[in-house]
Symmetry: C2
Subunit: 345 residues, 2 copies
Amino acid sequence: MQLQCPMPKLDFDVITLGHGSGGVLTNKLLDSGVFDVLSNPILDERHDGAIFQLEGKMAFSTDSFLVSPIFFPGGNIGELAVNGTVNDLAMCGAIPKYLSLSFIIEEGLKVSEFWEILIAIKGACEEAGVHVVTGDTKVVEKGKGDKIFINTSGVGSIHSKANISAKNIKAGDKIIVSGNIASHGMAIMSVREGLEFDSEILSDTINLNHTISSLLDSFGEHIHLLTDPTRGGIATVLKETAQSINLGIDMAQRDLPIDNQVASACELLGLDPIYVANEGLFIAFVDASIADDFLEALHKDENGANAKIIGTVTEEHPKQVIMESAIGGKRVVSMLPGEQLPRIC
Amino acid sequence: MQLQCPMPKLDFDVITLGHGSGGVLTNKLLDSGVFDVLSNPILDERHDGAIFQLEGKMAFSTDSFLVSPIFFPGGNIGELAVNGTVNDLAMCGAIPKYLSLSFIIEEGLKVSEFWEILIAIKGACEEAGVHVVTGDTKVVEKGKGDKIFINTSGVGSIHSKANISAKNIKAGDKIIVSGNIASHGMAIMSVREGLEFDSEILSDTINLNHTISSLLDSFGEHIHLLTDPTRGGIATVLKETAQSINLGIDMAQRDLPIDNQVASACELLGLDPIYVANEGLFIAFVDASIADDFLEALHKDENGANAKIIGTVTEEHPKQVIMESAIGGKRVVSMLPGEQLPRIC
């Protein structure tokens, strides 16, 4: 991808405070390739905001990304920022359409790094089928930020067959996770801790909108809730969901799909994978009647090969998530109690 | 305002990394009052994104705010973040409706400061008539941020009579500024530099959406362009506009409305007020036939008492802004060349 977008020749090689001034230097930075790389008719208007039309009900979501390091096995902060908001929209049952993109850059960031991030943003947008239509660029002094933070917000149109709400969940619903857990968090941790494995642990950052859209085509309102277990891991979203629906969740540790190396890395670092962040994963609460078909459809999707049914909603123990452990005992699953992995996304 | 929203009793008085974990502590922080203070039916769903319907064409805008200091004469970063995005939407000819709100907090921020900012956000939302419907809270380590950065993005419906685009500007159009220039920048600078005046210089941070909406009611498509001269000041937006429309702009320094104390402060610090940031100001390019009526309407509006016609669009000197100076000479106005006032918004 980078080969198709060589970095423009510039007379500066690091970003300075002036590039966030809103004046000549900001324009120079943006005209050096940012507008060209992300070009589309709405963005090209270069007004204070974007103007467009969306039909029907819409979804709107936001996320700020401050992952450290900004480059990690399997991706960088740029594609993470696009995929993160695209996936939040998909979790609402929406077809993501337009993104905003806001940079908070620490002075001294190398232009070559900025460019690499920008190209990753472009690539992720193309894969997801979304367009950056409005943005903002700010720069903070050295020591008042950390290389680059990125906020993306996004809007999309709700899929005509979608009716996603925790209120639709009922006892008996099956809980499906779309793939191996804990990959993103352990990819970041393995870099931070300098761990080496037979093969590198890669972040699972990926867009899920095409997968979700085709599942909604087939299963419509039988999909009751979609949610992506990012910070806090699958444990936190399951517990939050149980609390909000006033029902219980039963699950078993043996049903959780996890890559062997990721499991080893977790063990080595004393981390419980159910609390480790994911970036390309979703959890679906679906009507029991379609659960097997849903799983089969997911298995045929490139993002769902390792999908599994991991639990069931129950009227027993409302608000509690109970997990049968590998050796047969039962434990109550809480949300992530403290801070496990700061700056994971 | 603060008296009506006393801070909840909490068992922590500073924000820690755990409050950005996405787990128990994040929920504790959000449940300590954030969700209550900003409550509305869409936000209360607490899903990964907000779901709602907007009619017709819409506008979408984003801005990250990293003003320093976060509390300044006339406001704080909270209301600045709301008003900034509300005004960007208004500049598109939109009625702002829904905002996203994303916090990047440096660990160690006092909860009392966070609360004061939150209350300012609530107040600014109420005044503008907008709702925060989705959000995100992240925390960075000490020394990797600066107290708090806030991103707001927003969506709104385009006013039925609005047709705002630089493409509509033609030679002869009058350029109107809605009030005194340079107040926000000098309010921030006076704090940073410890300047004292007879009375304090206050930021002009305010929402402009109601003013714009009523002007659109009256003057519709005769309003060709609206733009707010924030970073880079009025000089930068006028120069950017002249470049994009391939026409020239004639203006005179004597026509620029400016508060005496602000003018003195600029002189003292050697700053040219045409480059100083504004937060509650807009510039309108309007058809010459309605310019006087537009000005009269603005003078009756609480945000337009000091409005003035400051220039004219001309076919002469395309892409150039030429300003007659106070003593009669003419100068070419460029964009803000370097960085004048970092972290001004």
